[in-house]
Amino acid sequence: MEFLMWLENSSFAVWERESLSLFAYPFFLVLHTIGLAFLVGVSAGICLRILGVASRLPLAPMERYYGLLWLGFWVNALSGVVLLPTAAVNFLTVEWIFYIKLGAIAVAMASMAMIRREVFLRGNADAAPLSAKARTLARTALGFWALAILSGRLMAYSNFVTLSSAGAFIVLTIVVLAVGLLARPGSRARRQLRHAA
């Protein structure tokens, strides 16, 4: 706790928080946004391909995009570390949503790492059809990236706003997924629903 307070009052943190320069706090937020776009965007591209989008794209060469993914990750990890001292006490002791964000990122990154092993490092990625495990990992990664983005944004708001926003987002996701899964002709979800009805 004292360490966090020391961090928050360090000359760097004070400069970062209070300087009017655009290269203080705003600059690191910009880096954090750009890193997010590459990290989550590339993950989404790879996961969508695994789930069957653009199936004529050979999978094996897509492994090269992991370099961009990791670049985005490190830009965000480092900018995140730099942003932390601006409100170290709040982020690490009051903001429970920060831990949800970090947890979601951990699960998403673990999924992307497991995808790399399951899909890309098993010899020829295009030789065999994608396993159910690979598809589950892809869906997991996408879901947890969305959770990471949501919880990251909600760090800026009070508990009340956070809870109502999270609830609204969950409802929205369920509606979108239901429409997406049921609207496609011949979708398995639709067949299952008709069977049950």
Binding site: L20, S21, L22, P26, L29, V30, T33, I34, L36, A37, F38, L39, V40, G41, V42, S43, A44, G45, L48, R49, V53, A54, S55, R56, L57, P58, A60, P61, M62, R64, Y65, L68, W145, A146, I149, L150, G152, R153, L154, A156, Y157, F160, V161, T162, S164, S165, G167, A168, F169, L172
Partner: protein, 176 residues
């Protein structure tokens, strides 16, 4: 000018909705970021391939992946419209839209760069560059015209994100 901007861009329905539902603005922001990730991430994957990265990929199949980038753009556009039309819920004053667009340099530049990216994409599709690119197979190089447009696209979208994130820090305060 001010009354025109007001009439077109100030939507009481959105303002009231944002005021009454505390989740509306944060959820819009979250959708904006998800849209950014899909749009910029997938477009970056495409642009980088055109520039020679991940050369084992043929370019034609990307046509099935790019619609997801367009979906991302739609997410950012719709959430962006919530921000523009509902701005009065967060800012006081009779014409917040007019005030913000005339004073915030970052917003002005962001819109300019989005327009530039749009023109760039238009050139890509109308000048036949997209057709040339579709014939590029695994291991092959894309033509120079395609690489130029891809580099411009990549740069512009990074600049859009940069400017967009700075919008809350409008110029007058930042450079005092």
């Amino acid at each position: 000018m001010e009354p025109l901007v007001n009439t077109l861009l100030r939507w009481p329905f959105v303002e009231n909705f944002v005021n009454q539902h505390t989740w509306a603005w944060p959820v819009s922001e979250t959708l904006h970021f998800i849209g950014i990730a899909l749009l910029v991430g997938i477009v970056a994957m495409y642009d980088l391939r055109v520039l020679g990265f991940a050369k084992g990929l043929p370019l034609a199949p990307f046509n099935r992946l790019l619609p997801w980038a367009i979906f991302g753009f739609v997410l950012t556009l719709v959430s962006g419209l919530v921000f523009v039309t509902g701005l009065g819920a967060n800012l006081r004053g009779g014409s917040p839209q007019y005030d913000v667009i005339t004073t915030d340099l970052w917003l002005q530049l962001k819109l300019l760069f989005i327009f530039g990216a749009g023109v760039n994409a238009l050139l890509f599709y109308t000048m036949g560059v997209s057709r040339d690119v579709e014939t590029v197979g695994p291991g092959e190089d894309a033509p120079l015209r395609a690489k130029t447009l891809a580099a411009i696209s990549f740069t512009l979208w990074v600049l859009v994100m940069w400017m967009g994130r700075l919008i809350p820090w409008d110029l007058p305060t930042a450079f005092e």
